[in-house]
C-alpha cells in the first residue's frame, strides 16, 4: 500500500458523499428509493476509510502523507513575490482516525434515518443534505491548509443550517437554523482574521509551512503578541463551531433538527470540529492563548452543566451535556493535554451519538414526545434502547471500564497537572465539579426516562421498540463505548494502543519564551524537539504521571457522588427535587432559563444591531438622501425665486424706485408702473451697479 494509493483513496472517500448529494438532489425527484444509494455510498466510504486508517497506522505511523496542487496562482506579484494558494490533503494519524469516526457515525446515522425519517415529504432531500455534510466534515478532517479548513468549515455550517432548518415549516426550526449559522459566523470572523494574520506573514495557508516558519522564529509581524492573537482568533472559530461560551447558545436550539442529525452533527462530528481545529493548531498556541482556551473550555463546561441540571427536554439535556463535554475537550487542549482532548473527542463521538440516537429511538417510540416529565418506565418497552442508552450514560459519567472513563480521567489528570504546574487550580476544580454534575444530570435523564412509572400512559401504551435499522446503530455505538477498543488496561489509557501508538502530542513550535514554564524544553530537549522526538518537557510528563491516580480517584468519587445523588432524587425520591428547586429558586430559574443568555443577546446584540440598522435606514432615507433631495429642494427654491424674480424682486425695485423718486421730490403721486417698466428699471439699476463695481478707481 503506497502513499499515492492512500491519497487517492482519501480523495475518493471525500468525494463519495458529494456524489451522493449531487445524485440525490438532481435525480431524487425521479428515482425512488434513491436514499439507499446514499446509504450504500456511506458504507463504501466507511470501508475505504477503515482501509486508509489501517494502512496509515500500520505502514506510515509516524509519517504524514501530504498531497497538494495549486488552486490559485497569482504569478509574481509586485513587492510580495509569488503567491500560490494550494488545495491539498494531509493524512496523519489523527486524520486517519477521524475519517473512520466520521464515516462510521455518518453511516450509522444514515441507517438510523432510513426508518426514523420514513414518510417525510423531503425524504430524499434529507439524505442529500446528510451527504453534503459528510463531504464537508471529511474535508475539514483531510485538509492540509487553513483556507480549505475555513472553506469546509463554512460548508459544514451550511449543511448544519440546512439540516437544522429541515422542517422549515416550523418557525422555531428556521429560527434555530438561522441562529446557528449567524452565531457560527461570529466565531468564523475571528478565525478568518486569524488566518489573515498568518497569510499576511507567510503568504501561504499550509499548516506545515506555517508551523515550520513559526518554529524558525518567523513570527506574524515579528511579534509574539500577534502569534498569541492569531491563536486566539483561530480558536474563535472553534468557539463558534464547538459551541463554547459565549457562542454556545445556538447548539441547544439546533435540536430543532431531526434527531439523527443532532446525533451526527450536533453531538458527534461537526461540533467536534472545533476541538479538531484546536488540536490542529495546538503547536502554534502560546501560553497566553492556551490559558484563554483552557478558561473558556472550563467555563463552558461548567455553565452548560449547570443548565443541563434542570432541563426537561430530553434532547436539550443531551445538547447541554454536549456543550459541557466539548468544553472539556477544549479545556484539555488549553491545559496541554493534547492527546486526551482528541481521545475524548473520539470516545465522546461514539457515546454521545449513541445517546442521541437513543433519544431519537425514544422520541420515535413516543410519537415525537420530547419532555422527560411525560416519560418514565420505558425500560420495559424499549429494552435495547435502554441498555445502549445506559451504557453510554455510564460512559459519559466516567465510570470505569468505559471509554468515557479513560478519556475523561486523562483530561482531569491534565487539568490537575496544569493546576499544580501553574497554580491555576480553578480549572481542575471546575473540571471535577462538572464531572459530578455530568453524572448527576445524565442519570437524572436515564431515571426519568426509563425508570419508574410511566407518566403519560397513553403514549406509553403505544410505545414500542424501534426496528432493526434503528437499534443496530445503537448497539454498535454502545459497543464502541467500552474500554477494550482503546486500551487493554481499563485504568491506564496512556498504555493503550490508541494513545501509545497512534496519537502523540506534537512538538510546540512557538518561541520558547512564550510557552508555559513547564513546556519549555531543557537544552537537550530543545535539540531533540527540533527533530520532533520529544514533545513535552520531562517535567510535564512527570506531573501528568503524578496526577494520574489522584485524578482517577477523585473523578471516581465525584462521578459516584453524582450518580448517587441522582438516584436519591429521582429513583428513590429521598429528596424532593421540587422542594429544592423552590428553595434555590433564583438559581433554579437561572439554570432553567439558561442563564438568560438568549434573552441578554436578544436584548443587546440582536436588538442593537437591528435597531442600529433601522436607525441607519432612517438616516439613509431622511438624511443622506435628504441632503440630495434637499439640494434639489434648494435648487427648486432658487428656481422659484428667480422665477418669481421678475414678479417680486423687480417689483420690489419698483417700490424702491417709487420711494426713491418720492424722496427726490419729482413726483408725489404714487407711481403707476407696468411690467415692461420694471424691466427697464432693472436695466437702469444694473447699469448703476455695474458702474459701481467696474469703475476704474
Amino acid at each position: 500500500m503506497n502513499e499515492s494509493l492512500i491519497v487517492n483513496l482519501s480523495i475518493i472517500i471525500l468525494f463519495l458523499p458529494l456524489l451522493g448529494f449531487v445524485t440525490l438532489i438532481f435525480l431524487g425527484k425521479w428515482i425512488k428509493k434513491l436514499h439507499l444509494f446514499e446509504v450504500f455510498i456511506l458504507g463504501l466510504a466507511l470501508i475505504l476509510s477503515i482501509v486508509v486508517m489501517y494502512a496509515k497506522l500500520s505502514f506510515y505511523n509516524v509519517k504524514d502523507i501530504v498531497a497538494a496542487f495549486t488552486w490559485i496562482s497569482m504569478g509574481n506579484a509586485p513587492a510580495i513575490g509569488s503567491i500560490n494558494i494550494e488545495l491539498g490533503i494531509k493524512i496523519d494519524n489523527i486524520t486517519a482516525i477521524m475519517l473512520v469516526v466520521v464515516n462510521l457515525i455518518s453511516f450509522l446515522v444514515h441507517m438510523f434515518s432510513i426508518e426514523y425519517m420514513r414518510g417525510d415529504k423531503r425524504y430524499t432531500r434529507y439524505f442529500a443534505y446528510l451527504g453534503v455534510f459528510t463531504f464537508s466534515m471529511l474535508g475539514i478532517v483531510l485538509t492540509h491548509n487553513f483556507l480549505m479548513m475555513y472553506i469546509y468549515w463554512e460548508l459544514v455550517g451550511l449543511s448544519s443550517y440546512l439540516l437544522i432548518g429541515f422542517w422549515f415549516e416550523k418557525k422555531s426550526a428556521s429560527d434555530a437554523a438561522k441562529k446557528a449559522f449567524i452565531v457560527n459566523r461570529i466565531g468564523d470572523i475571528g478565525m478568518f482574521i486569524g488566518i489573515l494574520i498568518l497569510f499576511t506573514q507567510y503568504k501561504t495557508f499550509t499548516f506545515d509551512v506555517i508551523f515550520q516558519q513559526i518554529g524558525l522564529g518567523n513570527l506574524p509581524f515579528n511579534s509574539t503578541a500577534w502569534l498569541t492573537a492569531a491563536g486566539i482568533l483561530i480558536f474563535m472559530g472553534a468557539v463558534g463551531k464547538s459551541a463554547q461560551f459565549p457562542l454556545h447558545v445556538w447548539l441547544p436550539d439546533a435540536m430543532e433538527g431531526p434527531t439523527p442529525v443532532s446525533a451526527l452533527i450536533h453531538a458527534a462530528t461537526m461540533v467536534a470540529a472545533g476541538v479538531y481545529l484546536c488540536v490542529r493548531i495546538f503547536v502554534m498556541l502560546t501560553a497566553d492563548a492556551m490559558l484563554v482556551i483552557a478558561v473558556v473550555g472550563a467555563f463552558t463546561s461548567l455553565i452548560a452543566a449547570t443548565i443541563a441540571l434542570t432541563q426537561n427536554d430530553i434532547k436539550k439535556v443531551l445538547a447541554y451535556s454536549t456543550v459541557s463535554q466539548l468544553g472539556y475537550m477544549v479545556m484539555s487542549v488549553g491545559v496541554g493535554a493534547y492527546t486526551f482532548a482528541f481521545f475524548h473527542l473520539v470516545t465522546h463521538a461514539f457515546f454521545k451519538a449513541c445517546l442521541f440516537l437513543g433519544s431519537g429511538s425514544v422520541i420515535h417510540a413516543m410519537h415525537h414526545e420530547q419532555d422527560i416529565r411525560n416519560m418514565g418506565g420505558l425500560r420495559k418497552k424499549l429494552p435495547i434502547t435502554y441498555y445502549t442508552f445506559l451504557i453510554s450514560t455510564v460512559a459519559i459519567s466516567g465510570v470505569p471500564f468505559t471509554s468515557g472513563f479513560l478519556s475523561k480521567d486523562g483530561i482531569l489528570a491534565g487539568t490537575l497537572a496544569f493546576g499544580k504546574l501553574t497554580s491555576h487550580w480553578l480549572i481542575p476544580a471546575m473540571g471535577f465539579l462538572v464531572a459530578a454534575m455530568t453524572a448527576f444530570y445524565m442519570f437524572r435523564l436515564v431515571i426519568l426516562t426509563f425508570h419508574g412509572e410511566p407518566r403519560d400512559h397513553h403514549k406509553y401504551e403505544h410505545a414500542h421498540e424501534s426496528p432493526f435499522v434503528m437499534v443496530a446503530p445503537l448497539v454498535v455505538l454502545a459497543t464502541l463505548s467500552i474500554f477494550i477498543w482503546y486500551t487493554p488496561n481499563p485504568f491506564a489509557p496512556a498504555d493503550g494502543w490508541f494513545l501509545k501508538n497512534w496519537v502523540k502530542t506534537p512538538a510546540q513550535v512557538t518561541p520558547v519564551q512564550t510557552r508555559f514554564e513547564f513546556m519549555k524544553p531543557s537544552t537537550e530537549e530543545a535539540k531533540a524537539e527540533v527533530h520532533g522526538e520529544i514533545t513535552h518537557s520531562v517535567e510535564y510528563t512527570e506531573t501528568m504521571h503524578w496526577a494520574h491516580y489522584p485524578a482517577m480517584i477523585l473523578s471516581l468519587i465525584v462521578a459516584g457522588l453524582g450518580i448517587l445523588i441522582a438516584f436519591m432524587f429521582y429513583q428513590w425520591k429521598k429528596i424532593s427535587a421540587d422542594k429544592l428547586a423552590e428553595k434555590l429558586k433564583t438559581l433554579y430559574k437561572l439554570s432553567l432559563n439558561k442563564w438568560y443568555l438568549d434573552e441578554i443577546y436578544d436584548a443587546t446584540a440582536v436588538s442593537g444591531t437591528l435597531g442600529f440598522g433601522s436607525i441607519l435606514a432612517w438616516f439613509d432615507n431622511k438624511i443622506v438622501d435628504g441632503i440630495v433631495n434637499g439640494s434639489a429642494h434648494v435648487t427648486q427654491l432658487v428656481s422659484k425665486f428667480s422665477n418669481l424674480f421678475d414678479t417680486y424682486v423687480v417689483d420690489g425695485f419698483v417700490n424702491f424706485t417709487a420711494f426713491f423718486s418720492g424722496f427726490v421730490g419729482l413726483s408725489f403721486r404714487r407711481l403707476q408702473t407696468g411690467k415692461v417698466q420694471t424691466y427697464i428699471i432693472f436695466v437702469v439699476f444694473s447699469i448703476i451697479i455695474l458702474l459701481l463695481i467696474f469703475k476704474p478707481f
Binding site: D646, T657, S667, T673
Partner: protein, 103 residues
C-alpha cells in the same frame, strides 16, 4: 458774462437723459413712455453735437445727430403703430396693464 461751454451742454444732456429715463419708468401711458425714449435719444444728440463743436471733431457729430433724428422718427412711427395695435386689443395703452406674459 456767462460763457456757455461744453459743461453746460453736458449738464443739459444729463438732465434730459435722466428725465427721459424717469419718464420711461414712471409714465403709465405708452405714448408718454415713447416720449421718454425720445428724450434719451435727444440727450445723446446734444452730446454728439456739443462734443463735435467743442472737441473740434469736425462735422461728424452733427451728422450722427441727423441720423439719430431720422431713426427716432422711424422708431416713433413703428412704435405708434404698435401702440395703436395695443389699443385695439386691450382698449387702453397703459403699459402697466399689459402684463399677460409673465413668470
Amino acid at each position: 458774462m456767462l460763457q456757455v461751454g461744453l459743461t453746460h451742454f453736458l449738464v443739459v444732456s444729463a438732465i434730459l437723459f435722466s428725465l427721459g429715463i424717469y419718464g420711461i419708468v414712471t409714465r403709465k401711458n405708452a405714448v408718454m413712455v415713447l416720449m421718454g425714449i425720445e428724450l434719451v435719444l435727444n440727450s445723446a444728440n446734444i452730446n454728439f453735437v456739443a462734443f463735435a463743436k467743442y472737441g473740434n471733431y469736425g462735422l461728424g457729430g452733427q451728422i450722427i445727430a441727423l441720423f439719430v433724428i431720422i431713426l427716432a422718427a422711424a422708431e416713433a412711427a413703428i412704435a405708434l403703430a404698435i401702440v395703436l395695435n395695443i389699443y385695439k386689443t386691450f382698449a387702453n395703452v397703459n403699459v402697466d396693464e399689459i402684463d399677460k406674459l409673465k413668470e
